[in-house]
């Protein structure tokens, strides 16, 4: 329905040139085992336009794009490029049909140089030296044209994420892409970097290239796109001309019901500091200094937000505080008790002292996918006396408590026996949250609490965090979502390249924080 409407009344989308759409998807389906990630999707994208696709995490956006790029093969459905029906069995054929993609999770070879990454698969000759020379020239040309300067001989693994994304884009352009897909490109960018990216996208559009922009940030959609489609739970629920829609409408389409994006934050009287960190330095296993002399404190009844583009030391900070890794140097005061973070590093010990931790990546750390729900419900607390009879685990006790938590946190499906992997992202997150909150900690470390979960779950999780605050706990919140940080935190510190580059109150503006995230500090400047 919307499809027809889009082709007929030509917006900027199709005015651009001939009314043949650049991309046309008809009845595309894709399932991953139990997951029906794409349910007969229809989509039309006009030549020379920027088309946005929004949807919650897990809605199926990446899957759909990956199908278009030949990374996955659709179970059914047709794809038309420039009006001609085609098949895209693999990325090779996608590239040959002028499609390029910047993946949500970068597809770069870390130990390779920028140049090597760019020419990979398009070397132009069996011997490297043949291709390399003109690749270098071509790369230079592109970099200048779209002012995306980059050192072609830098090792990609050592570049900041912003630049890594640049390499991805250059990769696509180097292969002469007419259709450029960007999957959540701004997740790793500061607001200003994001704006720069958008400028580039507009240039590309004006050169007649077609751009597909995936995101779940409404603001961005309104900023750059000409047309937009909304996905929900694997279905394409609507397509609109950006000019003719609003954030509110999109948000509602996205979630399937009206949502209030504001969390209510009651007054809580702040108590004494429960967590106090001083002079923390952390090296990663490669020996690189990732956290540089960081100090801060979190008081009872306070949420301290740590903002920053991912990869600026937040993860290492959490790992060191929670006792997973040993710090280079630094001390921590936990509810009055002084600890040397360079000495002790024992996550179990930290939990015992009343600090619990919701990790950034539940699949990698928070859960053991092959373990059943109840086994996961004691991960990290399995040595607690209440769970054990002597050297044995008291499984009845464990199951009983797990049941109660499933009730309380409305985890679905309500079973203690299903393996963690089979729960949905949001429910997986709830299992972790229940575990870390129900142990009644003094301090809660919580990283990316709502990554990969739907709005419903987001609201729930935010409220839990507010409860902790109300109960006079200290909460340290790390998130790349500025909105989340701003709506939950009492104070906000911003990390850039391992340093704390500034502190702000809850009222801080997005631009202000954005500059700090880019490492620009006015006070310092003045």
């Amino acid at each position: 329905m919307q499809v027809i409407d889009l082709i007929d009344q030509k917006g900027r989308a199709t005015v651009a040139e001939s009314n043949v759409p650049a991309i046309e998807l008809i009845g595309v389906n894709k399932s991953f085992g139990p997951v029906h990630a794409n349910k007969d999707i229809n989509l039309v994208v006009g030549k020379g336009s920027i088309h946005g696709i929004i949807g919650e995490n897990g809605a199926g956006k990446s899957t759909l794009m990956s199908i278009l790029y030949g990374f996955y093969n659709a179970d059914s459905g047709t794809i038309k490029i420039d009006g001609k029906a085609t098949t895209i069995p693999d990325s090779k054929s996608a590239i040959s049909q002028g499609i390029g993609m910047v993946h949500q999770h970068f597809m770069l070879v870390d130990p390779f140089t920028v140049l090597e990454n760019v020419i990979l698969g398009a070397e132009g000759g069996a011997l490297l030296k043949d291709g390399v020379a003109n690749a270098r020239r071509e790369l230079q040309r592109l970099a200048d044209e779209y002012d995306m300067t980059i050192d072609p001989d830098a090792v990609v693994g050592e570049l900041p994420v912003g630049l890594q994304q640049r390499v991805e884009i250059l990769k696509a352009l180097y292969r002469g892409a007419d259709i450029l897909i960007l999957d959540e490109p701004t997740g790793v960018l500061t607001p200003s970097e994001a704006d720069h990216l958008f400028r580039i996208l507009r240039v590309l559009r004006d050169q007649g290239k077609t751009v597909l922009l995936i995101t779940h940030k409404l603001r961005e959609i309104m900023d750059v796109t000409d047309t937009v489609s909304v996905m929900r739970r694997g279905e394409m629920v609507a397509s609109r001309k950006t000019a003719e829609t609003s954030m509110e409408e999109l948000a509602e389409l996205m979630v399937g019901r009206s949502v209030l994006l504001e969390v209510d934050k009651p007054e809580v009287k702040v108590g004494k500091p429960l967590l106090k960190v001083e002079g923390l330095n952390v090296r990663d296993d490669r020996g690189v200094l990732r956290v540089k002399d960081v100090s801060f404190e979190v008081r009872a009844g306070e949420v301290l937000g740590i903002a920053g583009v991912s990869g600026n030391g937040q993860s290492e900070l959490l790992a060191a505080l929670s006792g997973i890794t040993r710090a280079e140097s630094g001390t921590m005061e936990l509810s009055g008790e002084k600890l040397d973070l360079a000495g002790v590093h024992d996550a179990a010990e930290m939990r015992h002292k009343g600090m619990s931790h919701v990790p950034e990546d539940r699949h990698r750390m928070g859960l053991i996918n092959q373990f059943s729900e109840y086994e996961n419900s004691i991960l990290g607390y399995h040595r607690e006396p209440k769970y054990s009879k002597g050297m044995f685990l008291d499984k009845d006790a464990i199951r009983k408590e797990a049941k109660e938590r499933i009730e309380k946190y409305d985890i679905r499906p309500p079973t203690t026996e299903m393996t963690a992997a089979k729960f949905s992202g949001g429910n997986q997150q709830k299992i972790v949250l229940a575990r870390e909150i129900e142990c009644d900690p003094d301090v809660l470390l919580i990283g990316q609490p709502t990554r990969g979960v739907d709005i419903g779950a987001i609201e729930y999780i935010h409220n839990r965090i507010m409860d902790m605050r109300a109960q006079g706990k200290a909460v340290l919140l790390v998130s790349v979502e500025l909105d989340e940080i701003r709506s939950l935190s009492d104070r906000i510190i911003v990390m850039f390249d391992g340093n704390v580059v500034g502190e702000r109150g809850a009222e801080a503006t997005e631009q202000d924080l954005g500059l700090l995230m880019a490492g620009v500090n006015q006070e310092a400047a003045e």
Binding site: F32, F71, S91, M107, F112, G121, A126, L127, K171
Partner: protein, 322 residues
Amino acid sequence: MLDTIILVLDSTFRLSTPLLFACLAGLFSERSGIVDIGLEGKILGSAFAAAAAAYVFQSPWIGLLAGIFVSVLLALIHGYASITQRGNQVVSGVAINFLAAGLTVLLGQAWFSQGGRTPALDSASRFNNIELPFADALADVPVFGPIYANLISGHNILVYASFAAVPLVWWIVFRTRFGLRLRAVGENPSAADTAGLSVTLLRYRATIICGILCGFSGAYLSVAQGAGFIKDMSAGKGFIALAALIFAKWKPVNAMFTCLLFGFLDALAIRLQGQEIPGIGEVPVQVFQALPYVLTVVLLAGFIGRAIPPKASGIPYVKERT
């Protein structure tokens, strides 16, 4: 003194060769992301096939081809298990080793009924030592003479081949398109995939090359260094080659030096055996017999500590968790 050194180095070359072939073989496999515990088995399989064919056709070259053929077959089994079936690569490798250990003896017994051995090869069907030109003429030039005549000259062709292979492998891995793609697929298969390359194809090619090189290694044991196949004649060389590969941080030139080192340790153990050690005195022979293995462990642990393998090695490439 000098000739003692020459002697030890001389046998070092002989002992390093099979390690070097195997090590380079492993390099291709692991660079592409396929861990290969099965080098040992491929060497053994090839050694048997080579000896059998060399005996039947009275030609070392046919033997070599047969060895390579069988070794590649085994490599393909490993490839099928770990690439197509995404099985556990270590387990598959172990299986290959047992398969070779059993089949060689079984078939050997069935075909030649000599307790699983192949008949001894006459020099016509072996790779014999070749004297390089002027070896004798230069022999009595001081220092250089003996080195040239006794150390450089007078090895069989496969010894020279193994060392010639080193620069070749380096060039392939770091200077060709295939090499670039090989390394990419071992570090980040999805990256190669989205760059329009076939991970499967690349990895199969790597395993096949691995098979070919193991073929050389095995053939060397049975038709060059030795004169026929004997049960379990690979005697752990495949594993030592793996250790050498790790020690070499997956680099061809390092690989050559580490293999020489391991070969040297072996030669030294043989040389020192049954001699008074200054200061220590008479040492039980078993000490020397265990020496290469002990030192392997020491090197593995002491000197390199945690070597970082190609990121994707050992991990099957799975696009869709279903």
